[in-house]
Amino acid sequence: MNDLEERLRAALDARAQTYETSPTAWLRVQERRRGPLRRWGVVLVALPVALVALLVPVLLGGFQGGQVMTGPPPKPTPVGQALVIDNPAENRPMRLWLARDHEGALVFCRAVQYAGGASSDGCGSTFVNRESEAAWLEGSTESVPPREKVLAYGAARANVAKVTAVTKNGKRLDGALYRPSGAPLQIWTVAYPSTERIGRYEFAAADGAVLAREEPRAMLPASDQGEPAGPAVEMKGMSVRPYLTPDRTLIWTRGGREVGLNFVRAKDLMTDMGGRRYPVELRVNGDRWFGIARAGAAKVTLTRRGGASLEATVRTDPWKVGVSLFAGELPGSGDPYLEGFELVGHDASGKVLWREDHPADKPAWDPHPPIGEVVTLGEAKVWFSKVTLADGRTWDGLCRSMPGKKTTCNAFEPVATHYARRLPDLGTIAIGVAGTGITQVTAQKSETKGTIHAPAGAPLKIWTVPYPGGTETFDLRDARGELGMAIGGEPPSGCSVSPPVGRAATLAGGVTVTHQDGCLIMWRDGRQFTVEMRDFEDATYTYGDEIFTGIAIKGTARVEMVYDDGSRLVAAGTTPDPWGLGLVLFSTPAKKAEGGALVIGYDAAGKELWRLD
């Protein structure tokens, strides 16, 4: 080798060393693998072990060309509870948690279930280089092609009170902060439409001071990776055309946005990872279903479980790729993958060429795993589970599922042996939870005897009484017939027993406030005060437990409580609500055991805006 060759080698080595690798690279690769997801079910489910085994040593040692791991380290041990949240990108639950690797370093872990039925999980970067940072981005559900929504997530230290995504055009999108019980860091999330381009994430303290910023890297659109190689075909409001990428790719767009890819180079065309050919690749985007099928298909139908058969428009591809293109409308709501469906391809004479059965997609993990036996009540199923609140605490909850409806869980405070609670009605059934000492329930007015269910393995009982509605009182008694509790009045709404979950605002005195589904919940030390927003007028407040806290109409800058002796308690500052309700929140330590009878709200100029007698 001559001198020039040696110099060239040294120069290339020097330049090569300047390129760094992201510790979350493997996760990003997983996020891109959104082709025939259905085919990868086994692969992705099998990935967690490989992923954990892979990432940890790589992160500690850095990536080096030619380096091969010799053995997997132990799986990181979770620290604190896992956060289970809705992943808007996949319309499935997602789990985020912190863990310690075999060397004791903290790592951030996440598990994602994809709409096509697959799932993946794994732990990403260690925090060894993050010791001086207040918060940072760990990853997102961004993918090529993009889903309609993206969820970005990361970790934050205790002094971070607000996370905001700032788009390239200056729009500010508030995120949520969660404090999983026992976790050493907060977990933050921001959900945003994939049409938004995020310029940076900002992490601020309670006083608004920005503690950290991070700029995300956007993925390249697929169409950036090659030039168009043929005319576009328009079908059902979508456009599809081939691109000369290395693999030759059909790119589907809708409203100018990429919504689907098909790799169509002959050796890749509808071929799974085992080299087997399959007859159809399906994509679903909102109210459209579309894809490619083996050449010769003249009719493609999709039949949803219990639903009508839908027929797609079918075209032969004009680019000689050798496929039939199809696109159809998907009326109504619901998720065909969750319900299950069958795809059938026919030739021009109507003969069936192929069938693909898609059984209902079962969750890779249950966000509300049952504690004890599941009880069937008509079409409904109910079971006990644990519910993680927005402040990270865990309450007992009773979950319910009905066909075609989202599973909901009502959290409740501890229930003693002879105690009971009523929960929102289940259609025409009054339902609640009861301590283990309760053995019978009766509706007083209608003298209807109800049922006490004691699910095997459950910590409490469930009581039910058929109930036509209106005011009723339910007597709950023990085996000796002694009254444990009488529960009367109107049935509770979903609000009064909703757990405080979701994005939380933190106020003075340790008060945390959440808002979800029309319920605004303020809580402190495990006690909660709930406001149904449909009943809200000028202001509402709660007093006691050494705290005076509430909500008021926008413009309220100061709130005063007038005690009976004429003295006043002043909540001098208010905080705009973070949910865009147009309200303000206030909180201040209480001075006296008993509150006064008059509360007045003032604007910034001192003008009285409202008063509650």
């Binding site: 020039l4 330049r15 493997w26 790589v58 990536f63």
Partner: protein, 156 residues
């Protein structure tokens, strides 16, 4: 259902870093994006053996980088604006002064000559492997490499 082909994770662990660096050396503005895409595309292929997979990965990196550079050139033509080279100023500082002149000359070579030299002198690939990565014949690899070296010698 198809069982997971063995070796994807191991391939990633062993070669992701070098493929990022290859994309960077070839001039990609976002080398990690290129390398990640290459691994994602690997899953459309059946893995015969590690060598075949690695060759496939290298060829995707070369092709993606080539396409990306073409796209950037087109974008610049339509909307002329810097930067000419996407690497950061920090990058320039990190590369020792002694290599600057040579690397600048390398950057100025025609694309195929540059690719051949990088694959030969950084990855130590054989002519056959270089040909596979570049999508050309082994004979033309020899031509591109020797012309590239001659051009460098002339410029220095």
């Amino acid at each position: 259902m198809t069982p997971a082909p063995p070796g994807h994770a191991e391939l990633f662990a062993a070669h992701y870093g070098s493929l990022v660096r290859l994309a960077g050396l070839l001039g990609a503005d976002d080398p990690e994006d290129i390398a990640q895409e290459a691994f994602a595309r690997l899953h459309t292929r059946r893995l015969r053996d590690e060598g075949a997979a690695l060759g496939y990965l290298r060829s995707i990196v070369c092709n993606l980088t080539r396409n990306r550079l073409r796209h950037l050139r087109i974008t610049r033509l339509r909307r002329p604006e810097p930067p000419e080279h996407a690497r950061s100023s920090e990058h320039a500082v990190l590369v020792a002064e002694e290599h600057r002149e040579l690397l600048a000359a390398l950057d100025a070579l025609p694309r195929r000559q540059r690719e051949a030299l990088i694959l030969r002198y950084w990855l130590d690939l054989s002519e056959r492997e270089i040909a596979e990565a570049m999508g050309v014949t082994p004979g033309s690899v020899k031509t591109h490499a020797s012309r590239g070296l001659a051009a460098l010698r002339g410029k220095l």
